[in-house]
Symmetry: C2
Subunit: 303 residues, 2 copies
DNA sequence: TTTCCTTACGCCTATCGTAAGCATA
DNA sequence: TATGCTTACGATAGGCGTAAGGAAA
């Protein structure tokens, strides 16, 4: 098989149509250039150039081969540049794990930020439950997970992505709906749609903690795992609940959201990204760096 | 810059993920393979493989580069195969010159036959007058010309492509139109739309010869160069004329065609292709060979 | 006779293979 | 301790440059 150096020789001769000038361009003398062209022709299996002492011209096969040869050199160039861009994190792939619950708002937002910051990085999205995400991270099957705290594995690193406060959600027409904001006390003894302690552990703990610290004991009528299910049950009049402020973006009909009057701002709903500490994906490193920069510049304190 | 041999080394290692096995596949020993991979990484400017004593794996840049590398090897293969196909005439280009008059029927027919015989050969069509075609042939600007005889240049070779008889053409409603066929004698003294001796020399000579040999002297009322113009003038009642039988495919309204009763079959209308004898376009050679084979197999004597 | 591609030949660089080194599980 | 990638080093092959050869205008 031929070599790229021979391709460069051939392109030079084909462009100059003169072995002497081509050799000068290649910083070599004519004889070895002639030899390389002969070797190339032998490898291709057909003459590429017609030469007499007065004229050098391409054969039809040479004309076609010239086109392919230029493409080959271009491809070789871009292969190098592409690899460097991947090594520097400007291009490449990031595999992102996410839960079904984050697919409505958080994943699109993260994807949009990635695309804006690193337009040449390909995102591979994989939906899986939180535990599977952490395992996939450790196994290197994904680079980044979108999960709620806490993350206890020492090989993994959690970084905050979004903090938001809780709101009370209640059915339209509920007596409390007339109040501009709702005190936690008002929840004492009312029917309450609660998060599942198994499948929505984070929200169960968060809401339980808030209610316990306020000394409030609502009546838990249901245990559900998805915020959408909470909205549906609240709308159906089965009770009130607490949901993250971002839930309002769904414009869910039949329910109203109200601020909580006396919610302490030190335990908001948190969502973060988790990465493996020794992940060596340059695109991921760059994304984390860009996100941190961007976040430091734009994000004020959120509650 | 790197060489294709290094690319082959890299692909082997990337596929085996084991230097020893890759070296065996490449019929070499590990140490020089390691060295070639190092040289390649240096040329690319970034590590492509992560290796410890226990594991070899691709870096993100290596993964991207592997994709490009495979493409390079594929392109190199196809470049060789393509060049060979061009050299053998199975692919390539044929530049064809043709006159405006042949563009209606003869060019499409020739193009269709070329495409059927040599589907991977690209046809470049260039409309020009006959004299320009012959000059372009000699200069190598076109490979094949579609012209009527004679071609006198010794460097050029004429080959018959189509032979067809002449028909009389007369306006609808003309007294002769009731006859099933027309004797040449009947043309004596009638108004006759004649071909231009300058711009339609071939037809002028052909028709003049036929009329002279029959001892018939029609009255030449017009001298035109294009057959379409003849049809228009005949239709307008300016006279009769003689045209090639193929003219009937135009389904021209207002004129009728009649066989000539006593036309000798030895001087039909001829159309041929002309090529330069020392043309070295393999696709052209193959086309001529295929055409000859096909013609010998299918074409009976035409008049 | 001149131009310029090719062949011939000696030198040298670069690659290969063998052997030793060294890190990891 | 064994596996397996890397470094070291001597041998060899292939490419380069100089010099001579040969065909066409």
């Amino acid at each position: 098989m031929f070599e790229l150096s021979q391709i460069r020789c051939f392109v030079a001769v084909a462009e100059e149509l003169h072995f002497g000038k081509a050799a000068a361009r290649l910083n070599m003398t004519q004889p070895p250039l002639s030899r390389q062209i002969q070797l190339l022709e032998h490898a291709v299996g057909t003459p590429l150039l017609f030469r007499s002492t007065r004229v050098v011209e391409l054969t039809p096969a040479g004309r076609r081969f010239l086109h392919e040869a230029r493409g080959l050199l271009r491809s070789a160039e871009t292969a190098v540049l592409d690899a460097r861009r991947v090594a520097q994190g400007h291009a490449g792939e990031i595999a992102i794990g996410f839960t079904a619950g984050s697919s409505y708002r958080d994943v699109p937002e993260l994807v949009a930020r990635c695309r804006a910051l690193l337009p040449d990085v390909n995102l591979k999205l994989r939906e899986m439950v939180s535990q599977a995400q952490l395992e996939a991270l450790l196994a290197g099957r994904i680079d980044l997970a979108l999960v709620r705290p806490p993350v206890v594995q020492p090989a993994l690193q959690w970084r905050p992505l979004r903090r938001e406060r809780l709101l009370a959600v209640l059915p339209q027409g509920h007596p409390y709906a007339e109040r501009p904001c709702i005190a936690l006390d008002a929840l004492d003894g009312v029917d309450f749609v609660m998060y599942s302690p198994d499948e929505a552990r984070y929200f169960y703990d968060l809401v339980s903690d808030i209610l316990r610290r306020a000394g409030v004991r609502p009546r838990h009528v249901q245990y559900v795992s998805q915020i959408h299910t909470i909205l549906a049950l609240v709308r159906a009049g089965l009770g009130l609940s607490l949901v993250p402020a971002g839930t309002t973006v769904f414009h869910y009909e039949g329910v109203v959201f109200r601020e909580l009057a006396d919610l302490r701002p030190d335990n908001p709903v948190e969502l973060g990204i988790v990465v493996k500490r020794d992940n060596d994906n340059p695109a991921l490193s760059r994304l984390l760096g860009e996100l941190a920069l961007h976040q430091a510049a734009t994000a004020g304190p959120q509650a």
